[in-house]
Amino acid sequence: MNAVAEGSNVAPVIELRGVTKTYHSGEVEVHAVRGVSLDIVRGDFVAVMGASGSGKSTLMNILGCLDQPTKGAYRLDGRNTKELSRNALASLRNKKLGFVFQSFNLLARTSALENVELPMLYSVPVVSYRERRQRAMRALERVGLADRRGHLPNQLSGGQQQRVAIARALVNEPELLLADEPTGNLDTRTSIEIMGLFQDLNDAGLTVVMVTHELDIAAYCKRIVIMRDGLVISDERNDKRRIASQERAALDQAEQKAQLA
């Protein structure tokens, strides 16, 4: 069931043990997550799949320390999140986690560069203005948007906005990148670009966990976890992995041909 294939001697960056999450909506108890145990090692690239209501978003919130499990334990980088205060959790999100959302969630009327700087405003110890600028620029370069640093979100395309969001997630050198339907609002071509970026980052050693309901997007990941009714029903390595860089090259060629014809 558990597919920690490579390097099982390495301490996992994420350890979930019997995690449940129960919401009370009125009189009714909603069991969003009903006992999930999962290990994710450093350098893995995991897709969490499932229909809506399967509990994958709740699981994501727990992984992102935005929510606490009702029962069970979640260890992030060896630390049990249940024992941490609100402030300690904020600091954990700031240092160890990077978030990428379906709707990008950039600050409106704020330049790309300043959006990328945002997490550093809340870092302890304080990051100096100059260092903030430098690191934000480096992160923008990494996603290929250095020339758009002064643009406001509404002056950028969806794919560019998502890349700014990824730069923001990367700027504090996190252990883990959490992406919630990152390509949900993007067209196919831009989706391939974003997945290519994730694959590059993953190749450079970053652990990525991504929620998606699209199988062809999950196909870019190394490991696919499928959830249903709050439980993991399948957890397998992805042997037929799609490689975004190759597909893009093929797509470019096809387009050129189409234009010539």
Binding site: N61, G64, L66, D67, R86, N87, A90, S91, L92, R93, N94, K95, F99, F101, N105, L106, L107, A108, R109, T110, L118, P119, L121, Y122, S123, V124, P125, V126, R168, N172
Partner: protein, 416 residues
């Protein structure tokens, strides 16, 4: 981490948070200025109204002081004819003997002047002028704290000899003599020639609004014998040695006059004594009430302004729910979010306070320019207004900031 490092961290983070807050305010310039307007109006009205109140107080005080120091006015009682009140001094009750007795027997009295007044045509230099003819003693200047612009006051000897000499008010002098020096000139009243020995300094309008500068002052003996023909005086003005002795002197004079007028215990006084201190006290109470009233009107607008800030901050928190969610997600601590909104509210109110003070000062200037009234701006009211607007920022910003900090990041991120 030692204490200094913690302080540095707190300062740096507050600085960064202030930056974030400032940027948020700049993004919404119209809303920011409209919100600050509430505080601006409040602070401006407090500053301007307190200045107007203080100006009114100073003006009344100076007018009361212009009456003279430690003054008692003894008026002959009023006559009533068939229920008609004929006015103070209309009864023929006070005599020169009364004045002499007060001077002799009340040791706290340091200056005394029996007063007779009438109105008559003064003729000089080929011109006519209707003016007040006032009979006084040489103590008059001391009692009323008045000085001569030129020349000298008539003497006690002039009083004894019923000399035909006069001291002229500056207004009367201008009307009769124009640019000429009135000293040594002769002015005729009811056909009697008076030699002018002195000119009074200008004192302007008195408490009753009458111009005090339009009068001709002559020895009371001369006035009684040659002008009015009365045996009685209208009033006796007395200066007491100190303000502490005012009440004692008033009591002594009362019993002395009752005794001289042979009033039995069942009869009312046939005279009235006005204590200048009481007038001043009453005037002070009135002006304090005015200042308080004006100040409270301003305070109410400050309160309304503060509620405006809270309202806008609450709207702002709701509107920026998603932004708050993003900030929390990337690791902002609740205290940083709270501080951001608190600082926004404080910047709004302090900025409004600052502009309000400037406008308040401007209004005070304008009042001064458009009238002869002089508002007095006190540093105290400025500091108070500034302090209050700062406090309003903290007070009315606290709840919205609290609300922002308590948002659940998951809900906040989903908020549309």
């Amino acid at each position: 981490m030692n204490f200094l490092m913690v302080m540095r961290l707190v300062l740096l983070q507050s600085w960064q948070t202030a930056h974030v807050a400032l940027r948020a305010l700049r993004r919404n310039k119209l809303r920011t200025s409209l919100t600050a307007l509430g505080i601006i109006i409040g602070v401006a009205s407090v500053v301007a109204m307190v200045a107007v109140g203080n100006g009114a107080r100073a003006r009344i005080e100076s007018q009361v002081a212009s009456l003279g120091q430690n003054l008692l006015n003894i008026f002959a009682g009023s006559t009533r004819t068939g229920g008609v009140f004929a006015g103070l001094g209309s009864a023929s009750a006070l005599t020169l003997g009364d004045a002499e007795a007060i001077r002799r027997e009340v040791p706290d009295v340091v200056a005394i002047s029996p007063e007779v007044t009438t109105s008559a045509q003064a003729i000089a230099n080929g011109r006519n002028w209707q003016t007040s003819i006032v009979g006084e003693s040489p103590d008059f200047l001391k009692i009323r704290d008045w000085k001569l612009a030129s020349g000298s006051m008539f003497s006690d000897r002039d009083v004894r000899t019923t000399a035909k000499v006069a001291v002229i008010g500056p207004k009367t002098a201008t009307e009769l003599f124009g640019p000429l020096d009135p000293l040594g000139q002769t002015v005729r009243v009811k056909g009697i020639p008076f030699v002018i020995t002195g000119v009074l300094e200008s004192k302007g309008a008195g408490l009753n609004g009458q111009n005090q500068d339009d009068r001709l002052i002559i020895p009371y003996t001369t006035a009684m014998k040659r002008i009015t023909g009365d045996r009685y005086v209208r009033s006796i003005n007395v200066q007491v040695v100190s303000s502490e002795r005012m009440t004692a002197a008033q009591d002594q004079i009362t019993s002395l006059l009752r005794q001289r007028h042979r009033l039995t215990a069942d009869k009312d006084n046939d005279f009235n004594i006005f204590n200048q201190k009481e007038i001043a006290d009453t005037a002070n109470i009135v002006t304090s009430v005015i200042t308080l009233l004006l100040g409270s009107i301003g305070s109410i607008s400050l309160l309304v302004g503060g509620i405006g800030i809270m309202n806008i901050m609450l709207v702002s928190v709701t509107e920026r729910t998603r932004e708050i969610g993003i900030r929390i997600a990337v690791g902002a601590q609740a205290s940083a979010i709270q501080l951001q909104f608190l600082i926004e509210a404080m910047i709004l109110s302090v900025l409004g306070g600052f502009v309000g003070i400037l406008i308040g000062l401007g209004v005070a200037r304008l009042v001064q320019a458009l009238s002869d009234f002089k508002p007095i701006v006190s540093l105290g009211s400025i500091l108070l207004a500034f302090g209050v607007s700062f406090a309003i920022g903290v007070f009315f910003g606290f709840y919205p900031a609290q609300k922002a900090a308590a948002l659940d990041p998951i809900d906040a991120l989903r908020y549309e």
